[in-house]
Amino acid sequence: MVNYVIKRFFMMIGTVLIIATLTFFLMHAIPGSPLDSDRTTNPTIQANLEKFYKLDQPLSSQYISYLKSIVTFDFGPSIKKPNESVNSLIGRGFPISFELGMVTILVAVISGVVLGTLAALRHNGVIDYLAMTFAVIGISLPNFILATLLIRIFAGELGWFPAATWQSPMHMVLPTLALATGPMAVIARLTRASMLEVLTQDYIKMAKAKGLTPWKIIVRYALRNAMMPVVTIMGTMLAGILTGTFVIEKIFAIPGMGKYFVESINNRDYPVIMGTTVFYSAFLVFMLFLVDIVYGVLDPRIKLHQKEGDPS
C-alpha cells in the first residue's frame, strides 16, 4: 500500500508536469500576446512591458522560469490585472467555487443515490419511470439553460430568491440547483443500473434467505457494491465542479474561479493560464488518486499494489 501511494505520488507529479509543459507550448503557439490591445501603444512602452513580464526572453528560458514558478507555486502577477498576483486570484476565487461545489456535490450525490436506489427497487414501476424521466431531462438539459430558467421563474416571476451575486445562503439556492441537476441525473442512472445488477447477485439472495431486514440488505450489501461506478466518475466530477464552472458562475455572477480559465485564454494572460491549468490538473490528478484508494475500501478484491493504478 505504501509503495503504491509513493509510486502514484510520483506519477501524479509526472502527469502534472506533462500537462503543464503541453499547456505552456500550446499557449505560446496561439497567435496574439497578452500585451495586444486594439490600441497600439508605442514601441518603447511595448518593449518595457515585454521586458517586465520576461516575454522578450527566448521560449526555453521562459519555460525554465515557469517550471520554477510551479515548484514554488508562485505564478507572479497577472498581466491583464497588473495589481494582482495569480495566487491571489486563485486564493480568492477557489474558496468560493469550492463552497458552491461542495454543496452541489452533496446535493447531487444524496439525491442521485436516493433516486437511483428507489428506481432500482421499484424496477419498471411508476417511481422508476418518474425518476428516470427526471434523470434523462437532467442529463439532456444543459445547466446554463436550466440556470436561465431558474432565474426567470424563481427570481424574475416569483421573486423568491435573489437572481444573482454571491452574498447570503439564499443566493446559493439557484446556482446549486442549476449545477447539481446534471451530476445528480448521472449518479441516479448509474446507481440504478448497478443496483439492478447487484440485486440479482447470489449474496443478496443469501442475505434475504438469512432474513435480514430489507434496509440492512440495501445499505450494507447492495448499495455498497453498487457504488463502484459512482465512485469512478466522482473523481473527475469533483475536480470539475469544485474548481468552478465558467458558465454558471458567469450567469449567477459568482466570483469563483471558473472565469479565470476562460478569460485568461481570451486575454492571453500567460501567468493566469498557467496558474489555473496547473492548479486544476493537480487537483484533478489528486482526486483520481483518492478515487483509486476509495476503490480498495469499497471492494477488497481490488488489490492496488498489483494492478498499479489501473484497477478496473
Binding site: I30, I45, F98, Q167, S168, K250, P255, I293
Partner: protein, 541 residues
C-alpha cells in the same frame, strides 16, 4: 486496515463539509454588515459587469474602470450635462493667446478624502506617473500634446522636462506643443486625475484596496470585495458636496446581460443594459434610454489584396451595404446608421454637430454599386472577381452582421463571398499584420474631437491597418493640427473625411449608442458620447 481507510475518507469528507459550512456563514455575515443601509438613505444600485482592471488612474483604460473612478476622483475639469468641460478641481482656467499655455488655479477647498488639500504638486505627481515609461500607461499618448511628454514617455527625456509646473500649491501651469482645441476635453479623462503624492509615496499600491484608497471625487470607496461588489458613499470632504444627492452607490459585478435584466426586473438593480435578444420586445418600454456614444462599427479593406486594390471595386462593395437595413433588422439596438466616419455627438463652440455639418457621405446605392463593380473589373482586366473572404472575430453579434453583409453583397452585387470567424486575440493579431481582405473593426473615441477618429488613417498610423495611403489626406490632417481657427480646422477635417469615404478603404456600418433601462425613480445620471458615467448629479426618489 479497511476500517482505517474508510474512517479517513469520511473524516476528510466531514472536514470539507465543515469548511464549506463555515465559509457559508462568513459569507452571510459579510452581507449583513455591508448591507446595513439606514432608513431613508438614497442608495443607487448599479452593475459594473466585471471587476475594474485598476483604480490607478494612470493604468485604468477601460469603461469598467473609468465609470467608477470618474465618481471617486476628479481632475481639473469635469464634463457637464452638455458634454462641455467645466472647471472642477480648478476654479479658474486661463489660456494664453497663442492657445499654448494653460494656467489652472485650484480651489482652496479642494480636498482629498483623507482631509489633505489637493495641491498643484499632486497633479504634477499624477501626470508624471502616467507618463513614466515604467508605468506603461496605455493612456500616455493622450498627453503627447504636452511639451516634453512624448520624449519622457518614450525614454528619451527627463520628467523635469515635461511642461507641467506647480508654480505654487494652487497654481498649475501646462504648456502644449501645438494649440489643441480638445485639450480641456482630453484632461477630463481619468488618466489626468491627480494622485495624492504623500499617500502614493507611502504606499505605491494605495489604489488596490478600499482601505487605502484616497480620492477627491463626489464619492468615497467604502468597501471593495474584489470580483464581487463595491460600495461608494458620499464624500464629505468633496468641495461641492452639497450638490451630491445620493448617500450610497452599490455596484454589483454581473457579466451576463440576461441575469442583469432579471435583477433589474427583481429590483436588485436600478439600471441595466438591454440584452440583444430582448431589444425588440423592449423597444417601446418607457424606461428605455437611448443615448449617443461616440464610436463606429465599420469594416476595413486591405487595399494591397486583390480585388480591393481597385478603388472602384472597394467603392462598389461600400455602396452595396445598406446600413439602415442592418441597424433596423440585424442589430436592432437603436443605433444610427453610419454614412460617414465621425460619429454624432461631437460639437464645436457654436453647438454644431460635426456629423450633421458634414452630412451623409455614402448612402446605399445598388445600381451605382453594380456599375462601379463592372467598371472596376474592366479596369483590372479581370473576367471574374477574385475570391473574397470576410473575417470577423467570433461573437454572435459580429456573426449576425457578417451574414447580413454576405447576403447584401450577393443580392446587390451578385457576388458570393466567404465568411471566416477567428478567436478575438488571433483576429486582432492577424488584422494588425494585415492578413485579412475585409475585416470587422470598431473605433471608440478617446476624446471628443473628430480628429481622433480621422487621423487613424494617416499613412503608417498603427490604427490604419488597411495599407491605404493618401498624401492629400495626410496633408489635411497635418494642417488641421496647426490650425488655430476652429472653423477652418473643421473644414480641413471634413475635407479629409470626404477623401477617406470617397477612396473607401473602409465601409462604415453604424455609430454606437448607449441603450439602458433606468428605473423611473432615478434621475440626473449623465452619459456623455465621449466620457465616463457621471453620478455627481444623480438622484433617486
Amino acid at each position: 486496515m479497511k476500517k482505517k481507510w474508510l474512517s479517513l475518507v469520511f473524516l476528510s469528507l466531514l472536514m470539507l463539509l465543515l469548511a464549506a459550512c463555515t465559509a457559508n456563514k462568513d459569507a452571510g455575515k459579510e452581507n449583513t454588515t455591508s448591507d446595513d443601509t439606514k432608513k431613508g438613505e438614497k442608495v443607487l444600485y448599479l452593475n459594473n459587469a466585471v471587476e475594474p482592471n485598476s483604480f490607478d488612474p494612470s493604468v485604468a483604460f477601460d469603461a469598467v474602470s473609468w465609470a467608477p473612478l470618474n465618481n471617486l476622483m476628479e481632475g481639473l475639469v469635469r464634463l457637464n450635462d452638455k458634454n462641455v468641460p467645466e472647471p472642477a478641481t480648478a476654479e479658474k482656467i486661463d489660456v494664453s493667446e497663442d492657445g499654448l499655455t494653460y494656467t489652472f488655479t485650484l480651489r482652496d477647498n479642494a480636498k482629498w478624502s483623507n482631509g489633505d488639500k489637493v495641491t498643484a504638486g499632486d497633479f504634477v505627481y499624477g501626470w508624471r506617473h502616467m507618463l513614466d515609461p515604467k508605468t506603461a500607461s496605455p493612456a500616455a499618448f493622450l498627453a503627447y500634446v504636452i511639451d516634453g511628454a512624448e520624449n519622457y514617455n518614450t525614454g528619451k527625456g527627463k520628467p523635469e522636462d515635461i511642461a507641467i509646473k506647480a508654480k505654487d500649491d494652487r497654481t498649475f501651469i501646462v504648456t502644449l506643443n501645438a494649440p489643441t482645441e480638445a485639450f480641456l476635453n482630453i484632461i477630463s479623462n481619468p488618466s489626468f486625475f491627480p494622485i495624492n503624492e504623500k499617500v502614493a509615496v507611502e504606499n505605491p499600491k494605495w489604489f488596490a484596496e478600499a482601505d487605502s484608497f484616497v480620492g477627491n471625487g463626489p464619492f468615497n470607496l467604502k468597501t471593495w470585495q474584489h470580483d464581487s461588489k463595491m460600495v461608494f458613499e458620499k464624500n464629505d470632504q468633496y468641495w461641492d458636496k452639497d450638490t451630491v444627492k445620493l448617500d450610497k452607490i452599490e455596484w454589483a459585478m454581473v457579466n451576463d446581460t440576461n441575469t442583469e435584466y432579471q435583477m433589474y426586473q427583481n429590483d436588485e438593480l436600478d439600471i441595466a443594459t438591454v440584452p440583444s435578444e430582448l431589444a425588440q420586445d423592449l423597444k417601446d418600454n418607457p424606461e428605455l434610454k437611448n443615448e449617443d456614444q461616440a464610436g463606429i462599427a465599420f469594416y476595413r479593406f486591405n487595399v494591397d489584396k486583390k480585388p480591393f486594390t481597385n478603388e472602384k471595386i472597394r467603392k462598389a462593395f461600400a455602396l452595396a451595404v445598406d446600413q439602415q437595413n442592418i441597424v433596423d433588422y440585424v442589430t436592432k439596438q437603436g443605433q444610427k446608421a453610419a454614412h460617414g466616419f465621425v460619429s454624432y455627438g461631437l460639437t464645436n463652440a457654436k453647438g454644431e454637430d460635426f456629423r450633421e455639418v458634414a452630412g451623409d457621405l455614402i448612402i446605399f446605392n445598388k445600381s451605382e454599386a453594380k456599375k462601379l463593380l463592372v467598371e472596376g473589373l474592366k479596369e483590372e482586366g479581370w473576367t471574374k472577381l477574385p475570391a473574397v473572404t470576410l473575417t470577423y472575430s467570433t461573437s454572435p453579434d459580429n456573426q449576425k452582421i457578417a451574414v447580413a453583409l454576405q447576403s447584401q453583397f450577393k443580392e446587390n452585387l451578385g457576388v458570393n463571398i466567404k465568411l471566416k470567424n477567428v478567436e478575438s486575440g488571433v483576429f486582432m493579431t492577424e488584422q494588425k499584420e494585415l492578413k485579412h481582405q475585409l475585416s470587422r473593426s470598431s473605433f471608440l473615441f478617446d476624446y471628443a474631437d473628430p480628429v481622433n477618429a480621422i487621423e487613424s488613417f494617416v499613412t503608417d498610423s498603427s490604427m490604419n491597418r488597411t495599407n491605404w495611403s493618401n498624401k492629400e489626406f495626410d496633408q489635411l490632417i497635418a494642417d488641421s493640427k496647426k490650425e488655430t481657427d476652429n472653423d477652418k480646422r473643421w473644414k480641413l477635417l471634413q475635407d479629409a473625411e470626404k477623401i477617406l469615404i470617397d477612396e473607401a478603404p473602409v465601409i462604415p456600418l453604424y455609430f454606437y449608442n448607449q441603450l439602458t433601462l433606468e428605473k423611473p425613480s432615478v434621475s440626473g445620471i449623465v452619459r456623455h458620447p465621449v466620457g465616463y458615467l457621471e453620478l455627481k448629479w444623480a438622484d433617486k426618489k
